[in-house]
C-alpha cells in the first residue's frame, strides 16, 4: 500500500500508473457481527432506547450504514461522489491490500460531510470542483473520466510543495500567494487518508490482526446489591 504523494517528486511527464492499480480480492472480516444478539435476553431493546444509551451501548454496529446495499449519498451529488471515488482510488489504490475504494472512503466522508458546518462542506465541494475544472482545462474531460495515467499526471504537481517552506526559506515565502491546487489536494488527501486508516480495512493494513490488546471486556454481571 502506498499513498500518492508520499514519494519523491518527479518531473517526468506521465508516470506509469500500472503498478498503482493491481487489484486483489477484497478482505473483509465481519467482526462483531450480530453484536445486538450477543447482548443476551436480559438486555431489553426498549429499555436501551428509553434509558439514553449510545448506539455503541445498544450494541449497534454503526459501520453497517456504509455497507447498506441501498446506500444513498447524504450530502454529495452523483458527480461529486463519483469524483471522490476516483480520487480516493488514485490516492490509495488497491495493491496487495484493499484500497480506499474498497474501504468505502467516499461513503464515510459523505456521511461525515452531511453533519459538518456549511463552511466546511463548501470547502470540500470547492476542492472537488477545482480538480474537475483543472481536468477540463488540461484534458477537456471531467476528472472522473480520465485514464489512470492522466489522473496521476494531473495530481502529481499538487502532491508536492513547489514553494519552499517559510521555515527553511527564512519567512521569505510567507506572503506569497498560496498554491490553490496544492491546498485543495492536501485537504482531500488528508481526509481520504484519515477515512481510510480509520476503517477496518485501513486498520488491518496498518497491521492490526483483528485481536484486541486487552481482550473482550467481560464486566461483572452480579446485581448491584450483591456486592454490598
Amino acid at each position: 500500500m502506498r499513498i500518492f504523494g508520499h514519494e519523491a517528486a518527479h518531473s517526468s511527464p506521465r508516470p506509469s500508473s500500472s503498478s498503482l492499480f493491481n487489484r486483489r480480492d477484497l478482505i473483509r472480516a465481519a467482526l462483531f457481527a450480530g453484536a445486538a444478539s450477543a447482548l443476551g435476553p436480559q438486555f431489553s431493546f426498549a429499555q436501551a432506547v428509553s434509558s439514553g444509551l449510545t448506539a455503541a451501548a445498544k450494541g449497534e454496529d454503526g459501520s453497517t450504514v456504509l455497507t447498506d446495499p441501498n446506500w444513498r449519498a447524504a450530502f454529495l451529488n452523483h458527480h461529486q461522489n463519483e469524483t471522490l471515488i476516483v480520487l480516493s482510488d488514485v490516492i490509495i489504490p488497491a495493491t496487495d491490500t484493499p484500497g480506499a475504494k474498497e474501504a468505502l472512503v467516499n461513503r464515510y466522508l459523505d456521511l461525515l460531510l452531511s453533519v459538518q458546518p456549511a463552511e466546511f462542506q463548501r470547502t470540500f465541494v470547492d476542492a472537488l470542483a477545482y480538480i474537475d475544472a483543472e481536468s477540463q482545462k488540461q484534458f477537456g474531460k471531467d476528472f472522473r473520466g480520465l485514464g489512470a495515467d492522466d489522473l496521476v499526471w494531473l495530481l502529481t504537481p499538487w502532491a508536492f510543495a513547489r514553494q519552499p517552506s517559510h521555515w527553511t526559506a527564512r519567512n521569505d515565502t510567507r506572503n506569497e500567494a498560496p498554491d490553490l491546487g496544492q491546498q485543495h489536494f492536501e485537504l482531500l488527501k488528508t481526509l481520504i487518508a484519515t477515512a481510510y486508516y480509520e476503517s477496518e480495512i485501513g486498520q488491518k493494513e496498518l497491521g492490526w490482526d483483528g485481536e484486541f490488546t486487552h481482550g473482550p471486556y467481560e464486566g461483572c454481571e452480579h446485581p448491584t446489591a450483591a456486592h454490598t
Binding site: 467482526l31 462483531f32 453484536a35 447482548l39 438486555f43 434509558s51 439514553g52 444509551l53 449510545t54 448506539a55 455503541a56 451501548a57 450494541g59 449497534e60 454496529d61 454503526g62 459501520s63 450504514v65 464515510y108 456521511l111 461525515l112 453533519v115 480509520e198 476503517s199 477496518e200 486498520q203 484486541f212 486487552h214 481482550g215 473482550p216 471486556y217 467481560e218 464486566g219 461483572c220 454481571e221 448491584t224
Partner: protein, 115 residues
C-alpha cells in the same frame, strides 16, 4: 429516596461519589461520622463499557455531531466519546450559570456505578 433518610441529620454530606467522593465518604464513615452520600443518574451496567469496540463500528468514528451539539463542554474531557457520551450531562439541558468571563468547565457525569 426513602422519607426517613431525608429526615435524618448527618455530620457530613458528600455530593457525588466518583473517585474522590467515595473515598471521602469511606474515610469519614470510618472516622465515626454519620455520612450521607448523594448520587444522581441511572445505573450503568457492564454491557455499557464498549470502549473495546473498534472505532470504525461507531457511526461517525468518534466524530458524532450529537456530541458536538449536546455536549460542547463535556466533550472537552477526553473521556467523553461516541462510545459513552450519554453518561455525561447534556450541556443544553444542564447549562453552567457562571458568567462568561469566569467559565466553569468541569465535566459532570450523571450515572451510578462504573468505578
Amino acid at each position: 429516596m426513602p422519607q426517613d433518610v431525608l429526615q435524618q441529620t448527618y455530620d457530613a454530606i458528600v455530593v457525588g461519589s466518583g473517585a474522590t467522593g467515595g473515598w471521602a465518604a469511606k474515610r469519614l464513615s470510618e472516622a465515626g461520622l454519620k455520612v450521607a452520600l448523594l448520587e444522581a443518574g441511572r445505573a450503568v451496567t457492564a454491557r455499557e463499557f464498549t470502549e473495546h469496540i473498534p472505532s470504525y463500528q461507531l457511526k461517525y468514528r468518534n466524530h458524532s455531531p450529537e456530541i458536538v451539539r449536546t455536549r460542547p463542554i463535556q466533550r472537552q474531557c477526553y473521556a467523553c466519546m461516541e462510545y459513552n457520551y450519554e453518561w455525561f450531562v447534556n450541556d443544553l439541558e444542564n447549562p453552567y450559570s457562571t458568567p462568561p468571563d469566569r467559565p466553569f468547565t468541569w465535566q459532570r457525569l450523571r450515572v451510578l456505578g462504573g468505578s
